[in-house]
Amino acid sequence: MKVKITVNGMLYNKHIPNDMMLLEFLRKYGYVSVKRGCDTSNCGLCTVWVEGKPVLSCSYPAARADGKNVTTLEGVKNEAASFGRYMTEQGAEQCGYCSPGFIMAVLAMRRELTNPTEEEISNYLAGNLCRCSGYAGQTRALRAWLHDKPWEKEGQA
């Protein structure tokens, strides 16, 4: 079928297989930050935004994204890099495979929740799994990042 999907501001007017998932569409067009982890809606690794809302691209039909705006990590790379520095400072990553999905969920959470409590943070991010770490480094990085609010200085939305 024919779809028009805007990814990070760029319009793609394409023919796609009817059963293609958004994850496959994005990777096909070079958005390789979007990764397949479980492919069963369990791990959060494939998180992207559709119309600003975080969704699992492994379970989101590409056809449904017709006419919609999709954002991947590449589309928010400055803010992602800024948060990434906090992760590095806290030694929060081991293999780093979970980071693209985790960062997309963190940046979405920042937009959705004002001054979230620890409980709200862990509830929001509970679906983004990390197999290597015990989440302690990510939690420290998050706290420091939410405290410093670097996006205010860096002029991000």
Binding site: N18, S59, R64, L125, A126, G127
Partner: protein
């Protein structure tokens, strides 16, 4: 993964129904697709409801109405839902995977599927919800839950009487985002109680005996014991039947106590 021959956005419910009727076995209504995509169905007509405006949450004529395409995350964030029934609808879904998942999975897919493990149907059952089907009309959820699944109708919305009842939800999970090992919801309106027990692991059902204990003022512990004795419990990889029976007694007691506290407040 499923395969899809034709992917359609019907422009009306009549069209969606007509596509479904062409061959119920090879057509599929698409909800959030989180569950559907894990199967291996060869779908002839994939019927996407997302352009039919069924993603609305409305309060009208004394009812709270949840459209089939409302996502689980909307139940956690929409003020018309969070401000009612002590927020149990949002609470019941808040342990399901994570927010990106709950932005996909829908009320329609969750309720129509009548999963035994469903947190949402357990909560809705305690609120005396009804489901509105395109062909089948409006039926009580309790009746709907007791019927076998046949994929020949479209769930349009779920309705709950906006009667101000107090409610509480409890679940036990082996790890925080796992399927529930046991789920319990209770509600109380003018001293009349409703108790629902799910993930037994069979579908959620009401415990009339537990409700009677609470109506008669016998206390939360007696209600828990009654639910443990009245209902059947089974064994799966999460828990044995005996353990579930004990869990039911504890969770019903806790939910009833929580609801009593709310009633005082």
């Amino acid at each position: 993964m499923y395969t899809i021959k034709s992917y359609v956005f019907p422009e009306s419910l009549e069209e969606a129904d007509e596509l479904l009727r062409r061959d119920c076995r090879s057509s599929a209504i698409l909800g959030g697709c989180c569950w559907l995509k894990m199967g291996h169905r060869r779908i002839r007509w994939a019927i996407d409801l997302t352009r039919l405006g069924l993603d609305q949450i409305e309060v009208k004529d004394g009812w709270l109405e949840l459209g089939a395409s409302v996502t689980l995350h909307q139940l956690e964030t929409h003020p018309d839902v969070t401000s009612r029934f002590d927020g149990i609808l949002g609470e019941s879904v808040s342990h399901i995977v994570g927010v990106p998942f709950r932005n996909c999975a829908t009320v329609g897919g969750s309720v129509f599927s009548r999963f035994g493990f469903s947190d949402l149907t357990c909560a809705l059952l305690a609120l005396d919800a009804t489901v509105v089907l395109y062909r089948g009309g409006e039926v009580p959820l309790a009746q709907f839950m007791a019927t076998p699944i046949s994929f020949d109708d479209i769930l349009l919305k779920v309705r709950i009487r906006d009667d101000g009842r107090r409610a509480a939800y409890q679940s036990a999970r082996r790890s925080s985002t796992d399927f529930p090992t046991m789920a319990v919801a209770v509600s109380c309106l003018d001293g009349r109680w409703t108790v629902s027990v799910g993930a037994r692991p069979a579908r959620a059902v009401r415990s009339e005996q537990a409700a009677r204990c609470l109506n008669d003022g016998l206390g939360a512990a007696a209600a828990g014991q009654a639910a443990a004795e009245e209902l059947t419990y089974g064994t799966d990889l999460r828990a044995g039947a005996d353990y579930r029976r004990k869990l039911a007694a504890v969770l019903v007691r806790r939910a009833a106590e929580q609801c009593m506290e709310e009633n005082k407040g």
